[in-house]
């Protein structure tokens, strides 16, 4: 399945069916990461149930140093 992640097209294995799977896939499940899925910002709770489809737009953002 192909997703657009942070602006880049990326092929992910079919085992990646949900946002949770996606975070596991990138080994981000332990990190503070915020997910925007097709322009909808997801609460942590909904990662599990959010199913990904081919062509979905996903933004993965986090906190960085800033003033």
């Amino acid at each position: 399945m192909e997703l657009v992640i942070n602006g880049d097209k990326l092929e992910v294995p079919n085992t990646v069916e949900t946002v949770s799977n996606l975070l596991q896939h990138f080994e981000l499940e332990q990190k503070v990461v915020i997910v925007e899925w097709n322009e909808t910002i997801l609460e942590k709770g909904s990662h599990q149930e959010t199913r990904l489809c081919d062509g979905d737009k996903v933004e993965l953002v986090h906190f960085v140093g800033g003033g």
């Binding site: 503070v32 997910v35 910002i41 997801l42």
Partner: protein, 255 residues
């Protein structure tokens, strides 16, 4: 006590987390500063380096209140999106509204700042807008319901200190919410001046992270802000054009 919305703080120093030489220095500077509020920015992850360290992981997040900023936003819409992303982390509901209108001076756009603040207040955020020292703009932000007003002392990272103490004091006089001087502070005395004007707090970043010795400067800023606050509370002597003797003026007898 500094009260912002429903939060209370012993420290009046808000510390930014950008541009430290390394995480160890930063961690020590943060501890020494005794800041309780730390600002952060929100950015895309580099998903191909998950192992890439992140300062947040070095912190005991329970000990601090996170204040994400909307840096990078040029419009109210962008600022609102960044704020919502930050809140979705479940780690914070405060936001520093920062909508920059000029990339050279990094000064805020008054209209977009008002719009973003209004929207985020509707969404239930605790809203601290970074604003210019325009007195009536500060008033309008307060009238919207902002939980604190954060006028700049001088351009971000410029280290020029308090360029316009008059406007800051007008803003402080009129405010019924905390006024936190944000941006431009370069030295401990700059921070002390802000507090002596009656500010409720100071937010700074580069002055510490860019100092030759960030840890020492963090300590200096902590002390200066306490000193300035105490000085404000203690009530300074009036300025006089001429001198007033501190020693008894009657001279010694010349035998």
């Amino acid at each position: 006590m500094l009260k912002i919305g429903s939060y209370e703080f012993k420290s009046r120093l808000l510390l930014g987390t950008g541009k430290y030489p390394n995480f160890d220095v930063q961690k020590e500077a943060v501890e020494v500063s005794e800041a309780e509020i730390l600002t952060f920015s929100v950015r895309r992850m580099n998903i191909f380096e998950p192992s890439q360290p992140n300062f947040l992981e070095k912190l005991d997040v329970k000990k601090y209140i996170l204040l994400p900023n909307t840096a990078g936003a040029k419009t109210a819409e962008e600022a609102v999106r960044i704020a919502k992303l930050a809140k979705a982390s479940g780690l914070c509901d405060m936001v520093k509204v920062e909508v920059i209108g000029c990339q050279k001076t990094l000064l805020p756009d008054p209209v977009e700042t008002l719009k973003a603040s209004e929207e985020l207040l509707k969404e239930g955020f605790t809203v601290l807008p970074y604003t210019s020292d325009d007195v009536l703009l500060a008033k309008r932000l307060e009238d919207l319901g902002c939980h604190a007003i954060m006028p700049g002392a001088s351009p971000i990272g410029s280290g020029q200190g308090i360029v316009n103490p008059l406007n800051l004091s007008f803003i402080i006089e009129q405010a019924n919410v905390p006024v936190i001087v944000d941006a431009g502070v370069g030295t401990p005395s700059d921070a002390a001046i802000a507090m002596e004007l009656g500010a409720d707090g100071v937010l700074l970043n580069t002055a510490v992270s860019g100092a030759n010795d960030p840890v020492k400067m963090a300590k200096a800023m902590k002390l200066a802000i306490e000193a300035g606050r105490l000085g404000f509370e203690a009530g300074r002597i009036p300025k006089k054009r001429y001198a007033t003797a501190s020693s008894p003026m009657e001279g010694m007898s010349v035998s």
